[in-house]
Symmetry: C2
Subunit: 611 residues, 2 copies
């Protein structure tokens, strides 16, 4: 079944990129086996703390894949182990077949040294047998708990036992977040359309993850080559780099040449779901002339990418001909690339979008490979002035209609959202999406809460992202500092991912996700107890935390110092707090505290207190 | 009246720091004169746009002082022009007197080359005559519109005319934001205690600004030398640097030696209000031993700093003895330096705080110089776990009580707030502050919405800051990336300020501040029209925006290119939007749009549309 294409093999390849591997500081990997599916091994990251803390390691969600497991030898020319292949085989509803043959146009007619080499290992793709739906939604509706479902249930619990008391805090705005995630709960959420597991049957390297309002908020990192600047090696490296810092999914938004081959390298090395916008590649195939796009070219591109294993497609089928006039008086028109391409096509031909008209057929392709829909927001606002306008909400109505069609075909669906939205309009966006799209997961870009800070749009958008995540958005698409200005480099990717981990975690805390606060508590305890190493290791970016500390206090002795450079030893509030605690114990202060609280916090003369 | 102290003059000084001067790109300064007080000249910054835009310059708030005015020659050894001296003289209620003489302890007993030189120009301080209150609150209550009040009214309007229609948007949660700020409105807000103008009569270099819920949200930048690392020159430079990027006030949180002299250099060169925590200096005077603090030492420090011209004092008078037991079971105890110092003092002596007991006398000092209170939140939560707990809210109740006492003495008051607070608890903080403290302006540090990102706490806190600013907080104290790790350097100060300008502006947009969106709209128009230079110039940080763009497209020609490196020319959604607009005009699309809207956005067959 495996076949190596020698005509364009690695012999002609440039030196392979060195992706970053190895565990993060003080971290080790633990795998938890399934019960229904004993063969699954769900990764978690454990961060050890100093013995003086007397605390167990802190377990956190681990999106980084085998790259951080020192026991696994990775080789990007071989790809990751196809762990899910056996799961698909066990279900017995797919068949391997000879793939569509790669066309020169798939790689933008790149040849010779300009052509990214084929991935060395090639496998025949799978597809559903006999028109079946092989989607997680179809299984869920049939009452089947798949390996993927049990996997994500274990993953979300982070090693918590079902019996563990979970003190609840937070405001979830009507979500139904359980104390403990069971595989059956996952199945129900997927069956209801409230969550998806993007998991193409041709992406066996995937470590399944779930996107839904009743689970931890996830983040996506965008990358991709462009016509202006690009290299396959860089993109694979960025993918591995982004998941090292916590990206849950990665979108390959490549344009220009070599799209097909670059994507293959990414997919074979990706333990996270990979999303694409197939329209970008289709447009390359018609040399960038939007009006020359046809349903046939687009359809062929969907199959090409589904066979490769892309887990979700952004499809801008909600941009309809009659919406376009609604954008004419906008400050920033149409800012979605996919949206503008489709609008141009519609306008040129003065007819309805072929994506809208062929949506049924698109569903038939998606269900045969379990590619999830990410229904694109082609008319999202690109400026504060355009937020929540008629164009945006008209498209959202169409997306709600398309969601029902996709669900009827057993396809998994999430909905993309804005964009640029001032804070007071964010909740209206979320509420309208929930109402219009039947609670299908919302997947938003930011939103950016002001237009005035190019160069800092990771921050303008983290504000909106944290809020909309709290209100119910299931996945946040990161924004890097380069947004509006250029393509993100490796440093920008890391900044974007860390920033969005902050937003997602802030949202998890606010919506009251059980267990979310454990990491905050562990880090704050370390801070209070001057366990500097633990404080670094428990942080989202241990390297940066350590290097900032060491700028002013570089000596090793300062890592156990009971102060830092901010206040110096005499002024350290935390050191003084320890003195207070010591005195309090001497005085039986806890008992005093109880007495004060009882008396309603009225000041009592010392004599009365002493009694 | 002016006297130069030659014993420790500039002859012994190190080379003076070169502060950054000159206008920001495409920017010029415009001054608007008063009507009631024709002598006042209120600065505004105008950013010119390319002639092709056909738009007037964009006027924005300008906190940068004379340093960005090429017509003004600044010299930090002379200080800024004492523009307000004439205003105080005209009021005729102050008298000059011989200042308290500087003690060796004021500078931590630094001598010789380790002593920061005296500021070369020394002036006798002013104080109120005959026990009068010379505060803006006293004047406001007496029905007097001071020069300061008219100044801030003009400043807030940014050149808008009273008659200009101001389309209102936003949710202000019960604030009373006017369409147009009149001097009388300012007077009323100050009289009601809802706003303050921190403006010590001994800080004549000040360009007055207002802090209140019904005005633009302001930001504060902290700086200051510490025992571990310090230099006077760096601090003056950081102050000028921070206001260049938009800091509205600056707190000098110096500890260690040279506190007095460093502060003098900062004040004489500061066009923004300067705040301090007098307790820090008082503690230095007792060599860092909290229990050795006395009311007399503290009182003397208040007078020392009031005479120098400090505009607001953080005073932790709300930390009472009976609150301390409430902190014993916290994850991070007491994290406010001032709070922990006072708690230790109270506990050691087992008696009520001398700040609380002498609060009346403190008010008498404050009113004689118009130093504003910033009532410190000594028990603010230092971790997510401790947010909104009994200790925090018990102190807030005391702050409410102290606010009433200060107001009875005609003192201006703002209230400091947290800290670390998850998003779902932020609104409760704001609401409780408004209710408890009679709508005195709230001044918060962040809040940080998670504990897990040391190195990125400007971002964790910008999320909380934007939200609490929207809910009604009047001023946001910045947090830099170094928070929890070390002292901010120049780059950190800039990052902190820009991040907080984002949070404050996002809050202004959300609360519906009239005119706030003009800069967003101008920048977005520039973006849409590919006026790259305008996009850079209108941004909060033109240098960073430009350099990020130039990383991938450095050529000058690309500054007029109708694409950028993100998508390349073929995929540029904005370029396609222009094509669409052109086609739309050809087709009379605007008319079509109207028709579609009229028919309720139902899709119409092309035939019907064409009719």
């Amino acid at each position: 079944m495996n076949q190596i294409d020698q005509t364009n093999a690695l012999a002609t390849a440039p030196a392979l990129p060195a992706v970053t591997t190895g565990p993060l500081p003080a971290s080790s990997k633990r795998y938890v086996a399934g019960v229904i599916h004993p063969e699954i091994r769900v990764p978690m990251r454990e961060i050890a703390v100093h013995p003086s803390a007397g605390e167990p390691p802190v377990t956190i969600y681990d999106a980084s894949g085998p790259y951080t497991d020192p026991a696994v030898q990775t080789d990007i020319a071989r790809g990751l182990a196809p762990v899910r292949s056996a799961w698909m085989a066990a279900r017995g509803d797919c068949e391997a077949y000879t793939a569509r043959s790669v066309q020169p146009a798939d790689n933008g007619f790149a040849t010779g040294t300009r052509l990214v080499p084929d991935f060395p290992v090639q496998t025949n793709p799978l597809r559903a047998m006999g028109g079946k739906a092989v989607t997680q939604l179809a299984y869920a509706r049939a009452g089947i708990i798949t390996a993927e479902m049990e996997y994500v249930a274990i993953r979300e619990n982070l090693g918590r036992a079902a019996a563990l008391p979970t003190p609840r805090d937070g405001e979830d705005f009507g979500a139904s977040i359980p104390d403990y995630v069971t595989p059956e709960f996952v199945r129900q959420e997927i069956a209801a359309g409230r969550a998806i597991i993007p998991a193409n049957i041709n992406h066996p390297e995937l470590e399944p993850m779930i996107i839904g309002r009743n689970f931890a908020v996830k983040i996506n990192a965008n990358m991709g080559t462009s016509a202006v600047t690009s290299s396959m090696a860089e993109e694979v490296d960025k993918m591995v780099w982004s998941i090292r810092w916590g990206a849950d999914t990665v979108m390959d938004l490549s344009t220009g040449r070599n799209i097909h081959n670059t994507r293959e390298w990414i997919l074979r090395n990706a333990p996270v779901p990979i999303g694409t916008v197939p329209l970008y590649q289709a447009l390359e195939k018609v040399d960038g002339v939007a009006e020359n796009l046809t349903w046939e070219i687009y359809r062929d591109t969907l199959i090409e990418q589904a066979e490769q294993g892309v887990d979700y497609f952004t499809i801008h089928a909600g941009v309809q001909l009659h919406h376009i006039p609604l954008t004419v008086n906008r400050v920033t028109g149409i800012v979605s690339r996919g949206g503008s391409i489709m609008a141009k096509w519609c306008l040129h031909h003065h007819r309805e979008s072929f994506l809208y008209e062929h949506f049924d057929e698109i569903c038939d392709i998606m269900r045969a490979y379990d590619v999830s829909f990410s229904l694109g927001d082609g008319l999202r606002p690109g400026s504060i002035a355009d937020a929540n306008d008629a164009a945006q909400f008209a498209e959202l109505e169409t997306l709600g209609e398309l969601t029902q069609i996709a669900w009827a075909k057993d396809c998994q669906v999430m909905i993309e959202g804005p964009g640029h939205v001032a804070m007071h309009k964010i909740k209206a966006n979320m509420d309208k999406q929930l109402a219009t799209c039947g609670e299908a997961p919302f997947y938003t870009l930011g939103p950016l809460t002001t237009d005035i800070a190019p160069g800092y749009d990771h921050i303008t958008s983290a504000i909106g992202a944290a809020m909309i995540g709290w209100f119910g958005t299931a996945m946040l698409c990161y924004v890097t500092p380069k947004e509006h200005l250029g393509l993100p480099d490796r440093a920008d990717v890391k900044t974007g991912v860390i920033t969005y981990k902050i937003a997602a975690h802030a949202a998890d805390l606010a919506k009251g996700l059980p267990g979310a606060q454990a990491r905050d508590d562990a880090l704050s305890s370390a801070r209070f107890e001057f366990r500097w190493e633990d404080q670094f290791n428990l942080s989202l970016d241990p390297e940066t935390a350590r290097s900032m500390h060491d700028e002013t206090l570089p000596k090793e002795a300062h890592k156990t110092a009971h102060f830092c450079s901010m206040c110096g030893p005499k002024f350290c509030s935390m050191r003084i707090s320890h003195d207070i605690r010591a005195e309090a114990q001497k005085d039986g202060m806890a008992a005093m505290a109880a007495k004060f609280r009882e008396k309603g916090e009225v000041y009592l003369p010392a004599a009365e207190v002493a009694e």
